[in-house]
Symmetry: C2
Subunit: 460 residues, 2 copies
């Protein structure tokens, strides 16, 4: 990193008034995300336009200063934490929805647009943008793109990368690349758009995104069902999926999750249940009725103990209460929770849940498992106390064993939260060395001096 | 390229008996694809296993011999034509479906598996693989991946890249890379899988693919509707898409297409019609009824002159007859047809069709326009005689003007056929120079000596 005073002065000259922050208060405010990671930037740039990003990446390249892009900092993998100092580049001020085209089913947005704000803007047009990370009411589209965010309804609709048609990105040195376009089909050259999606800010900075939209179906309904046996619940999901129905979501709560929620909320959940499924469908009104009746039937045939259907938003909200309350319920047991994010092939879900339960018992920690069973993405959540070093040691051992088990079962370290800093040490266990080398070579093309979000994704 | 005798001898030693062909007959048989391009290979390798591909790419790298991968050679952009000689590497013998997992909604296949054969194997499981290029009864999954193939039902389901979860690829030198995996959500490192999809064999050779499958909905139905005015037809499609319905397909025939088909088949198509729409929906039986009634209603409200619905496979087949017969009907006018493949944002479709008609008139050639209006992908097809040099000169001028117009309207040179050799000269008009440079740098990583399908995609 060049002499700090020098690059700060040059950056100050390049940026409009008020966009460069260097006070202690500002630096601490940009030092964390939604993990427990922390790192102070030397300065903060508030980007209001592509030009601000260009100026920042030009000066940063010249002086070899790390640049850490940041949306809402709601990330769960340390991706926006300025571990090596340098510049925290906030895209949050770039929150303009530039265009919504119902004809083209396309939205063009700046990276700081909050996912929920886009959804609200699309509603009057009868349209929606499918990716729905749990953080959708605060996370930004730019952050969603950086992490290739998923969410519950990704079972039916896919993840962020399936909805990014075009990008404007700025790469180190300040060059602006316009990738992809706004036509749905496009096979002109390599797919650099999708190379940037999920690259966690290590290749460049997204300054504009062209997103694919879908017509919003008019109706939804949800079935909840309880099972004495996790295997049977998993078989039920497969039976639904192979019956010609593609549900909107298929969410699972394991026995631990059910019991901590019941202790907390007294919802009357069945005491001995080892699995709860929440299966939602979406479509035309008549279609939803037909599909939900079939889902109910499949659940009953497979021996579900309690099967309930909700067809109004209020009833649905009641059924989803258990799912939404797991983390809060765990928070009653211990002061903190560590939420993980593994994915395994769907067929391995019962084995994976059992393995996680064994790991929890072995290390003496409570782990609730819930998540998106339909796409194999589970969020094992460990109750803990960060102020107890002995417990935290056991928690990280348990987490490591969970990662290892996921990889062993043909799964991955991260389904939707990214690698960032929190999982980079495990990347070599998930990827062959020659693939990792290719990824590093790709980074080298766009970021030859390693200034873009250094230390993220790749192990030291 | 090294001394031919030398590399041929080494290759022969490396490969099992019968996998290296060098006779004149064999070389001519591997000299073309479905375009008018032609180029003889020096030798043909029939790959029966990944090891054959490894041996080929090891020897080819050592002697700097071009390698041109080939599936069924049904491509429409010259991608598998050995323009610079070298080795035609046929993956057609690798046609094993390795695994179908209904639990994981995944199929693992070798690259030579024909798209239709995979569909047939999936049927008993109630599953399907969505990408459906027109060549699906002959083209291979490997070829579909190389070209990022689309098809009519891509409006609802997306294109090939949306269904490739994992790849085994061999890169020059013979190294085997295992990219991606079999979990639906996966954010560990850069998305190299999608970098390979659509790379037209210029980065390496796909030797195995893990594909995402979907449950097959039980019912379909199709509405056909005629319009006096192309704009109104386009508006009708937008009205359908913004009504909450995502059709399976929305196909368009322009006035020229309608008239050549009618002259040929006497189906009783309305004489003055300027547009025919075929809108199909797919889902649960009740749902399909409900949706198709709404589609019919929207067509009538917009003033369609004849609205007909088909709900049985036989009736559907009758309605689709006009769409399927355009090329054959054009073939009655002139001995040959040149099929193009542009894509524009949906809102520009009427303007694009009118522009194409003007271009046809200006150059004195008949151009029928049909294609996938819902995703903006049109196939303007020019009737011509390849033995008439003056006419062919006018045909290629017309084609160039069509490309230029598509790019001007924010579209692309190719929606689903690829660039190959036939469109490479136009790539610089469709992509900014700095993006093209980045693509070349990416190629350099995987193929530093430029032996993989040289001359394809990139302009000379």
């Amino acid at each position: 990193m060049g002499e700090k005073r020098e690059w700060l002065e040059e950056l100050k000259r390049e940026l409009p008034e008020g966009r460069l922050l260097t006070s202690r208060e500002d630096r601490v405010a940009y030092s964390y995300d939604a993990t427990w990671e922390e790192g102070w930037p030397d300065a903060v740039v508030l980007a209001h336009a592509t030009e601000d990003v260009v100026a920042t990446l030009r000066v940063a390249q010249k002086y070899r200063v790390p640049v850490v892009p940041r949306g809402a900092a709601s990330g769960l993998s340390g991706g926006s934490v300025p571990e090596h100092g340098g510049i925290s580049l906030s895209l949050a001020p770039m929150r303009r929805i530039i265009e919504i085209s119902p004809e083209d089913l396309v939205a063009v947005v700046q990276p700081g647009v909050i996912n929920l704000d886009l959804q609200k803007a699309l509603e009057p047009h009868g349209l929606f943008y499918p990716p729905d990370p749990a953080s959708y009411d605060m996370s930004t589209i730019g952050g969603n793109i950086a992490e290739n965010a998923g969410g519950p309804r990704c079972l039916k609709y896919g993840v962020t990368t399936d909805y990014v048609m075009g990008l404007e990105v700025v790469i180190p040195g300040g060059e602006v690349l316009r990738l992809g376009g706004r036509s749905i089909k496009n096979v002109t050259g390599y797919d650099l758009v999708r190379l940037f999606v999920g690259s966690e800010g290590t290749l460049g900075v997204v300054t504009e995104a062209t997103l694919k939209l879908l017509p919003k179906p008019p109706a939804t309904a949800t079935v909840s069902a309880f099972f004495d046996n996790l295997n049977v619940a998993a078989e039920t999901v497969v039976a639904v999926l192979t019956s010609g129905i593609l549900p909107l979501t298929t969410e699972l709560l394991d026995g631990v999750s059910i019991r901590v929620v019941e202790d907390f909320l007294h919802l009357g959940l069945p005491a001995g249940a080892e699995a709860m499924l929440l299966i939602a469908v979406e479509g035309e009104t008549g279609c939803v009725k037909e599909e939900i009746a079939r889902v109910e039937g499949i659940c009953r045939t497979h021996g579900a103990s309690t099967v309930e259907t909700a067809a109004t938003p209020e009833e649905e909200s009641r059924l989803w209460r258990a799912r939404r309350s797991v983390a809060a319920a765990l928070g009653r047991l211990r002061p903190h929770t560590l939420g993980e994010d593994i994915a395994v092939p769907r067929s391995r879900i019962p084995e994976m849940v059992r393995t996680i339960q064994e790991i929890g018992e072995r290390w003496g920690v409570t782990i609730a498992v819930y998540g998106h069973i339909g796409d194999g993405n589970l969020h094992p959540t460990i109750a803990c106390d960060r102020n107890d070093p002995d417990e935290m040691d056991r928690v990280s051992k348990a987490a490591e064993e969970i990662f290892a088990a996921a990889v062993r079962m043909g799964g991955t370290l991260s389904g939707e939260h990214g690698i960032g800093t929190v999982k980079r040490a495990f990347l070599p266990s998930a990827l062959p060395n020659n693939v990792l080398d290719m990824m590093k070579a790709v980074k080298q093309i766009f970021d030859p001096h390693g200034i873009m979000n250094p230390g993220k994704v790749f192990p030291d």
